[in-house]
């Protein structure tokens, strides 16, 4: 569903809603995986991101997003200098992240390290500032960033959904949508939970404390 405010917006630093604002939002989403500004970042640009990214400030926008800058933050213009001062060691590479008809032309893979945490996110910028995260740590996901989102992989144990819902309720988090997929009976269950309130790092830690939760991340919304 297209929102009127998606059309009259976002407010953003130019010059491109896909190559600048969308790129910044992908950086913002990736930052969640390590719980703050990373110490090291490898940014691999694919397709049009790789070909015309420099002239669009795609590099600055992604690094700005990794430091928590929103798309309308004018510090994006000097984000690379700020990153060097703040101790974010970044590097850029051009990469083919898939076949032309399988991967969106504006796709990036971001590998981050912060303290003992290291994670990888792949996502695309779809135009008009809209983004789509397709992969986290090798797991296929579908995150649009217009809701606060929790993604997790759990062993197929009875009552897992109820216990997760209970935990979120205890943490004061209201569920908007929940999507559960499982490849086979007894196989891992994959959940994408959109929630109304921003889940903090403690919610991620609580989820990971369940012995049958193999992997969990939370991503704060970047639009909407």
């Amino acid at each position: 569903m297209v929102s009127l405010l998606d059309i009259i917006g976002p407010v953003m630093v130019g010059p491109s809603s896909s190559h600048t604002a969308g790129a910044c939002r992908l950086g913002l989403l990736a930052r969640n995986l390590v719980g703050g500004t990373p110490e090291r970042a490898l940014v691999e640009l694919h397709g049009s991101f790789a070909r015309t990214g420099e002239g669009h400030g795609t590099d600055k926008a992604i690094v700005g997003g990794l430091m928590g800058f929103r798309p309308d933050d004018e510090r994006i213009r000097t984000a690379l200098d700020i990153a060097e001062r703040e101790g974010l060691a970044y590097s850029f590479d051009k990469a083919k992240l898939g076949e032309e008809n399988e991967v969106h032309p504006n796709t990036v893979r971001i590998t981050l390290e912060r303290a003992e945490r290291s994670h990888v996110m792949m996502g695309s910028s779809l135009g008009a500032g809209r983004v789509f995260v397709t992969e986290i740590d090798g797991f296929p996901v579908e995150v649009h960033g217009n809701h606060h989102t929790i993604v997790l992989v759990a062993e197929d144990v009875k009552g897992s959904v109820a216990r997760i819902a209970g935990l979120l309720a205890d943490d004061g988090i209201n569920i908007a949508t929940l999507r559960l997929t499982r490849k086979q009976k007894g196989g891992d269950a994959f959940m994408v939970i959109e929630v109304d309130d921003p889940p903090g790092e403690e919610v991620r830690d609580h989820l990971r404390a369940f012995p049958w939760v193999r992997w969990a991340h939370r991503l704060d919304k970047v639009s909407g």
């Binding site: 009127l4 998606d6 130019g14």
Partner: protein
């Protein structure tokens, strides 16, 4: 949001109200937020639009490549043109201004995209100033523009990479023409004709920026897009009707976009980008961007 202008116009006529009123009511329902909050978000967008117009008219900005900048001020200060000092010239200068700010990594409102961000603020703020329209009606007009853009997003595309420039400055011209027609007292039906009249004039428009950068011809195409929007407003308010309904014109834009060669869809592989001068400039400027580390 509505997926056809026909449905939106019918809803407005049934309730004897404006397109902005039905758009705001539906957006509030869709989002589960009060209309006042949607209006506040549009008010913030209007503030940013005005800021970008003012900043761009000063004329001291340069883009990353240095290919564009300073032309808004030229038009703004000129007395040489046949329209110098008129609202038409003011709208043209404003469209250049916002797009020059965008190219210089300044703050703008993507409406519908950053590459087409000059048309809507130029037409709406330029005509509002000339006709002394208050901010509440300008906010209504932004809602109508959003409705039109949402219909285009649903039926066709708002991405140059998907549909060429007809999907960016073309869509922006349709949004601006419809919104301004309502703002200046047009009926919902006249708004529909304004959208059709503007977008028929941009059908087939390719997206061919030098080096793939949102600079040239994008800055100038926002100005000519605004001129097309003004022509459509003038005709629609005079009672001119376009025989093909706006929804079908929008569908046509989508169809043309889907069959457009990839060279003409923001890849810098065709059009002005592929001219001898276009190629030379892109090469020189991209090298200079790399050297400056910009």
């Amino acid at each position: 949001m509505f997926t056809s202008l026909h449905a939106a116009i019918a809803a407005a006529e049934k309730e004897s109200t404006s397109l902005s009123a039905v758009a705001l009511a539906l957006e509030a329902k869709d989002q589960g937020r009060p209309v006042a909050e949607i209006r506040d978000a549009l008010r913030r967008a209007l503030v940013v639009m005005r800021g970008a117009v003012e900043q761009g008219l000063v004329g001291d900005l340069k883009s990353a490549s240095g290919l564009v900048g300073g032309d808004a001020a030229k038009v703004h200060q000129s007395v040489a043109g046949p329209f110098s000092g008129t609202p038409f010239a003011s709208v043209i200068a404003r469209a250049l201004a916002v797009q020059e700010v965008n190219a210089a990594m300044g703050v703008i409102v993507a409406a519908p995209t950053a590459g087409g961000a000059g048309v809507l603020p130029a037409v709406l703020t330029g005509l509002a100033e000339a006709k002394q329209i208050d901010d509440e009606r300008l906010i209504d007009a932004l809602a109508t523009a959003g409705l039109i853009g949402a219909v285009v997003a649903e039926r066709a595309s708002l991405s140059g990479a998907e549909g060429g420039c007809q999907a960016e400055t073309g869509a922006a011209a349709g949004m601006a023409a419809g919104a301004a027609t309502e703002m200046l007292g047009g009926t919902p039906r006249q708004v529909g004709h304004a959208v059709a009249l503007a977008q028929q004039g941009t059908l087939g428009l390719v997206c061919d920026p030098l080096g793939g950068l949102v600079e040239l011809p994008c800055v100038f195409r926002n100005a000519t897009g605004a001129a097309i929007a003004l022509a459509a407003v003038e005709m629609a308010l005079a009672g001119v009707e376009f025989a093909i309904p706006a929804d079908e014109v929008i569908d046509t834009m989508g169809e043309i976009g889907r069959s457009m060669d990839v060279r003409y869809r923001e890849t810098a592989g065709g059009g002005l980008a592929a001219t001898p001068t276009g190629r030379r400039l892109a090469k020189e400027r991209l090298v200079s961007i790399k050297r400056s580390g910009a």
